[in-house]
């Protein structure tokens, strides 16, 4: 379900308009509050939901991970460097809170240098895994991957 705006919370600052990749969050010319001009074109990327400083934008999540009538809300706190999710069922019995560090990398960095990568072997071609599947998500060698096991670490500053 596409994004919608709580009018009493929005102050028309324009962060959602700036960040929307589909350019469908606009400021209403009469009310000077943000609104989704073309809900059909919203692919629920949550960019505007996370960018809104007043948490005035909401999305109904898909019914395949929470039954109808639920609430899925998110706070991306970049100053603390964390992202928090809360999934609540309609009757309130399930109230799931999640909190994790933001791991988004700076724009334009860590671009795969595919020309330096050797081509797939016949074994790879026959494999169910994708060629050049990122090693960080490969579950067929060893245990679950973490930042530490892959030699990565949190860096100062978060990016979007």
């Amino acid at each position: 379900m596409p994004t919608f705006v709580y009018m009493t919370r929005c102050d028309g600052c324009g962060h959602c308009v700036d960040i929307c990749p589909s350019d469908i969050m606009h400021i209403d010319p009469t009310l000077r509050r943000a609104y989704n001009i073309e809900p059909n074109m919203c692919w629920e990327c949550y960019s505007c939901v996370k960018a809104c400083p007043h948490n005035a934008i909401d999305v109904r999540g898909y019914a395949d991970f929470a039954p109808l009538g639920h609430s899925v809300r998110v706070i991306r706190d970049e100053e603390k460097g964390v992202i928090a999710w809360r999934i609540k069922s309609r009757n309130g019995e399930t109230d799931l809170n999640l909190l994790a560090p933001i791991t988004t990398k700076p724009w334009g960095k860590f671009i795969p240098q595919l020309k330096d990568v050797s081509g797939p072997t016949q074994e790879m071609r026959n494999s169910q895994l994708l060629y050049n599947e990122p090693k960080y998500i490969r579950m067929d060698d060893g245990d679950i991957h973490t930042l530490a096991s892959n030699g990565l670490e949190m860096k100062e500053g978060v990016y979007y």
Binding site: T8, R9, D11, G12, C13, G14, H15, V17, D18, I19, D23, I27, P29, T30, L31, R32, A51, P53, H54, N55, S71, R73, V74, I75, D77, E78, E79, K80, G81, V82, A84, W85, R86, K88, G92, N97, L98, L99, A100, P101, I102, T146, L147, A148, E153, M154, E156, G157, V158, Y159, Y160
Partner: protein, 271 residues
């Protein structure tokens, strides 16, 4: 000049009693407009339904003292210092316009009902009008999203501008009339102020009543734990949070550092 009551010279044309009737009529118009606005938009119903919903989702009960504290902090932060604005320029412009308008209205009432000839009140009246003009024109020409972000020319008017335009016309022509004199400038001043105070139903004048209500309700939802179903980020150095979310101490350390402004490092202006 600025310490003389400009309304004194009007006594030949308009009696003080007529001026007082006009001021009272404008107060009634604002009160009536606000009440009709609340009924028409069903905003009171919306707020009470939202409050009920929040109460059902509450994790703890909020004591009377906490409610009083929330009300006081709403008054000192959101109402008196416009703290809800994330953009500092908008906040400054709003503060100048709001405080200027309050000064202007209060000093008008004092001058008309108190029969003040000269002194501090006429000076405050002029300062108030000037402050509204500075804050309001700053908003009108530079900050307003239509101009700043949508690239519309400043002279393009829509219904949303009813409040700001009538407010700016009121204070601008009040100042011009006070300095230059003349019945025409006075007539425009009164016309603009009449439009400002009688069009509450169609303008955003009523925001000064429902915005504090919305801010107070937001504070209450934070206190009772319902927080409009938003997650709780909390203090990351708190051991109980670190025990609950072990990723935090593992990757960020036991006392996570400040990660920078993020999206706030740049004001939204290129859409």
């Amino acid at each position: 000049m600025f310490t003389a009551n400009p309304f004194t010279d009007l006594a030949d044309l308009i009696t003080p009693a007529m001026m007082q009737v006009y001021v009272v009529a404008m107060f009634i118009a604002v009160a009536a407009g606000t009440i009709i606005d609340v009924i028409h938009k069903k905003s009171a119903k919306y707020f009470s339904e939202n409050a009920k919903k929040a109460q059902q989702a509450a994790r703890r009960t909020v004591s009377g003292g906490e409610k009083m504290g929330a009300a006081i902090s709403t008054i000192t932060n959101e109402v008196l210092t416009s703290s809800e604005f994330a953009n500092p320029q908008r906040r400054m412009s709003h503060l100048m316009t709001m405080w200027g308008f309050i000064l202007f209205v209060v000093s008008t009432v004092v001058m008309i009902f108190g029969g003040v000839e000269s002194g501090i009140w006429p000076l405050l009246w002029h300062i108030g009008a000037l402050s509204v003009c500075v804050g309001g024109y700053w908003f009108w020409f530079f900050i307003r999203c239509d101009v700043n972000s949508e690239g519309h020319p400043w002279y393009k008017l829509v219904r949303a501008d009813l409040f700001i335009v009538s407010l700016l016309m009121t204070t601008t022509f009040a100042l011009l009339w006070s300095i230059l004199g003349g019945i025409l400038l006075f007539a425009i001043f009164i016309l603009a102020s009449t439009v400002l105070f009688t069009t509450v139903l169609w303008s955003k004048f009523a925001h000064m009543f429902f915005k504090p209500a919305a801010a107070y309700q937001k504070k209450i939802t934070k206190l009772d734990g319902s927080q409009e179903n938003l997650p709780d980020v909390g203090d990351l150095s708190d051991p109980s949070i670190q025990a609950r979310y072990p990723d935090i101490p593992e990757y960020m350390g036991t006392s996570p550092e400040y990660m920078g402004l993020g999206i706030k490092r740049e004001a939204p202006n290129h859409y």
